[in-house]
Symmetry: C2
Subunit: 611 residues, 2 copies
């Protein structure tokens, strides 16, 4: 075991030899910035180690690029790369640490941290025959707001709590509801969850509500995958009956509970100290999460049961935070524009940005938001599973071993997540590959893989020999079997190219309809925000190259990370922001593409060309 | 089997031979007035049978006295006495029937029937791609009040309900909450429960909320008796831990559920058509019913956890009415003045009566209410178990075979419930017996059984020989073994007399303290209302004779029946009355007798004398 001491807080962790500083920080409850969860690809977890304590150590090739020579000389390392073998002192970047403590997100200012959860330490007068005030009234009358509503579960053992604590307690309020009465003064410990339920991946953030800081986060595959990979197959399953609906609900709750116990174990927070959870997800995920039959979301006219925000006590859902704590599902806009899209609006403050903003969240579905001229327009379209790696011969999720970047010059050069041998290609890699293939002439602008000798002779020889015909049609070898994890060639087929064209055609046509609705052209767009994990990794030049995005100067395109998760965090940290989410959902005008002939026309146009 | 047809409604019932008309009426869902539940002692269930259909039939002796010769000649019978042996037509007293349909209680006027449950039959427009309004919003926007709150359970299967009903539905609202969405138009069927949870007996009334009528009622021994006969022993049991508390809660809920299924089976009402329950009981019963630890109600200073009214969904308690239906527990005043006492205030409209009113509800505990001069004063005192037949040698509950009336002239004459051989004596019989014994000189005014020859020779010989000494002291034989159900003598002992003196002394002293607090004397009391089953049967002259009540003219004393149950029915039938119950509980000033030296003084005085 080795002891790791973090400065300036002097927090410590005992970890087993070979653990990374990143892991030690989680154990110690110290915040280290990271967006790649310790994969060594974001370069944000820089910490400093005194030279005399530093073991001999080499960064991985990919990681070293994030550190300048000066930094390397001064003992800066990436926390996720440096493995501890003896006691060590670690200095955090002070400005970043201070910043992290003040705000959970770049977008939240400290003075915006006004969660609806508030703790009140109280010293109550003890009862006597001359003051027979009931226990609950005794608590309530000591609170600033006398309208606090009664809660049966909190009251159930209140008599004993008050007397064991000798009437010194902390009342935990959520707005005008009491959620707990705790013995002694516990104001220092106050936590909440922000949850983003994706069809594929569920991300959970544990936040310190006093400081507005993310203590820890974790993501897990949505266990509903067992019942179907996409929302339509899950709706079909749920439509069979209430038992199947319950299975889907139970699956995602269990996934969340497993994640919450892990986060609690890592941070020393107890489930009963988590007083609220804010949840976002697409409309189907929201329905399934609260156990509402989503059957009629699938067939036209795609009718959800509810659109508004939902509040329910955690125990009703079986979510293992404080049983009386509220779980708040943010509002939806329409059947295929869900709370996750509303959360993107919230996180980007899209309604407050000057000019015209287009925000796109691409997953299995693509949701588009066009804001400007005092309006917020939304639409959604099946993006096709291409962007999540499905339906692509060698497709895979954006995990270790996925090709995420492709350059074609004299030959093909690959960037692989985790800097290992490639196993397949993920969505951002696919866009990059096809953009490069189009630029270099491996595919034509209509999306046809080069076949004639005329076309082929323009290509460098080592690229040319990657093109080949098989029984199933043409394909292009991205990586030869000798340099892949499986030993098999990694290829893109003609069919793969067509899948991507379908996906990008739908997105592009949807954007076109929204622009028409608002009466603008691409030049009027001041910025394009790419949300979601996918948007985070996509190379914007490639997205513009293949025509996924309307033609704007590349500098107007920006990734905004997991904006849906950020929106959930905001709503958790600020009652005001939570109210704003309902206002945004109400304000949003949904454009149903299936009724629009202009969508069909544009789709046909947009899918035909790679530009 | 015989068919019984009721006029004027032409409702029918098939019953087995030998069933009474009273039983047939319950099967047919026909309302027949009765306050003795078919025991033949209230005389209220008169119905008429055409002479030609009448079988040879003789009323029991006690029952015949309720019918005049003219009535007997015209074929009037008591429905609970007449046994059916062939098909028969029964004519109900029309004015009473009409009255019963309008009002559940003598005290409720038809225009006061404004339950918080309202049904709205709705025909919704069907959704289309041009109108993608979510299902729930579609329902809500068709309702007169748009602020109706969302309910997760109602929403869970809403999508299918709407489509199976082709968007013709009935929304069931409780105030601003939706509790159900039903297929088709169901406004005709709308039911509620009024429940009076006594320490000993639980009474359940099933009401038709459209008509304000009691459809059926039933009472059952409180199953919590298994865990202790009185509130203190149950509190001790609950104090052991949350499992024991849960056992007590589960016991009473199970008793209620059994009763509800019986009432439903008898009336053809489904549990899901019961949309609300209003519950009253003493403060301990209220705590146990909702699962709140009552531990600190037992020791001084007798602190309850809550005082205010409580609302909770039925499913949370496991009560088998509609799961989303609200269970409303009326407010308490103090640790030993509960919702049942508030219900008595409500039923008697004690705050609106002119002058000064004293209301007394006597059971194991005695609760007193003194209203007047714009004030409502309450107090409670352990009445001793004497009034419920416990701690009395031959005591028993007011059931068949209990002596309920005693007259002493040349000899002792008894009135026995059910006109059978006596098995013991109940509370009202005890008061009657001791009043008569005091009047006739069998006991002295200080409560001593006659012993000296001087005293004895005043008595008629057949009374005198009932007095005897045993090893345990003196006793008086009320019924000789040859004329009792058990073959054993039924006696009152010197100790029994002392028990009664203790009980009546506490009640009387409590009344004295309230009068002192209000600054009045007995002459100022305009009326004394005796509530509860006990108050219903007590002979007021006897209660005055033994000094249980302050000295007022007998015509000022009146029984008001099960006023606690009536109050629960009122609160169920009228939102206004329910609100009033909270106002009454707030207005009531509780006088804690244990702190009052004047109570101790008066208790000593009052217990010493039978007057």
């Amino acid at each position: 075991m080795a002891k790791v001491t973090f400065l300036p807080s002097f927090k410590t962790a005992e970890v087993s030899d070979g653990s990374t500083i990143f892991q030690a920080a989680i154990t110690a409850g110290v915040l280290i910035e990271s967006t790649c969860s310790g994969r060594g690809t974001c370069g944000k977890c820089k910490v400093q180690i005194p030279r005399e304590q530093m073991d001999s150590f080499a960064h991985s090739e990919g990681a070293e690029k994030f550190l300048s020579d000066t930094e390397l000389a001064a003992g800066w390392v990436l926390a996720c790369q440096y493995k501890v073998n003896s006691d060590v002192t670690v200095v955090l970047r002070e400005e970043r640490d201070a910043h992290e403590r003040k705000t959970a997100l770049n977008r939240v200012h400290a003075d915006e941290i006004r969660p609806s959860i508030k703790k009140y330490p109280l010293t109550l007068t003890k009862p006597s025959v001359h003051d027979q005030t009931p226990d609950w009234e005794r608590v309530r009358s000591a609170l600033p707001n006398r309208n606090i509503s009664f809660n049966l579960l909190t009251a159930a053992n209140l008599a004993k709590v008050l007397r064991q604590a000798e009437f010194k307690i902390t009342a935990v309020l959520d707005g005008e509801s009491i959620v707990a009465v705790e013995q002694g003064n516990t104001v220092e410990r106050c936590y909440g969850l922000a949850v983003d339920i994706g069809t594929t991946t569920v991300v959970v953030y544990l936040l310190d509500l006093n400081r507005g800081a993310v203590l820890a986060s974790s993501s897990v595959t949505n266990p509903q995958r067992l019942f179907g990979a996409d929302v339509i197959s899950r709706i079909s399953y749920a439509a069979k009956g209430s038992i199947e609906l319950k299975q889907l609900q139970t699956a995602v709750i269990k996934g969340l509970n497993d994640t919450v116990s892990k986060l609690c174990a890592n941070t020393g927070v107890s489930g009963n100290e988590i007083y609220q959870a804010v949840v976002v997800g697409n409309t189907t995920m929201s329905h399934l999460f609260v156990g509402i039959d989503p059957t009629y979301l699938a067939p036209a006219p795609y009718i959800p049961v509810f659109r508004q925000a939902i509040q329910v006590e955690a125990r009703e859902l079986g979510l293992n935070i404080l049983g009386t704590g509220k779980v708040i599902v943010l509002p939806n806009v329409a059947g295929y524009v869900g709370a996750d899209t509303v959360a993107v609006m919230l996180a980007t403050k899209i309604d407050q940005l000057p000019g015209i903003t287009l925000a796109i969240d691409i997953g299995t579905n693509g949701e588009m938001i066009l804001a400007g001229k005092q309006r917020i327009l939304t639409c959604s379209t099946a993006a096709g599973p291409a962007f999540e790696g499905a339906e692509i011969r060698c497709g895979m999720r954006a995990a270790e071993g996925a090709i995420e970047g492709v350059t074609i010059k004299d030959d093909v050069q690959l960037a692989v997540i985790g800097n290992t041998l490639p196993s397949g290609i993920c969505g951002s890699g696919l866009i990059d590959a096809i953009a490069e293939m189009a630029r270099s002439g491996v595919v034509s602008l209509t999306g046809r893989l080069a076949g004639t000798s005329d076309q082929l002779k323009e290509l460098p020889p080592s690229v040319r020999r990657r093109l080949r015909r098989t029984d199933q049609g043409s394909e292009f070898v991205l990586a030869w079997g000798e340099a892949t994890a499986t030993g098999e060639d990694i290829v893109l087929t003609q069919k793969d190219v067509r899948e991507l064209q379908l996906a990008k055609g739908a997105i592009r046509a949807g954007i076109h309809v929204l622009m028409g609705e608002m009466g603008i052209t691409p030049e009027d767009i001041d910025r394009i925000l790419l949300a979601g994990a996918f948007g985070n990794y996509i190379k914007k030049e490639s997205a513009l190259q293949i025509g996924l995005l309307p033609p704007v100067p590349a500098e107007r395109v920006r990734s905004v990370g997991n904006a849906a998760g950020d929106g959930a965090k905001l709503a958790l940290l600020s009652t005001h922001e939570r109210m704003r989410s309902s206002a945004l959902a109400d304000q949003a005008e949904h454009v149903e593409l299936s009724t629009r002939s202009d969508f069909q026309e544009q789709f046909v146009k947009a899918l035909s060309y790679l530009r």
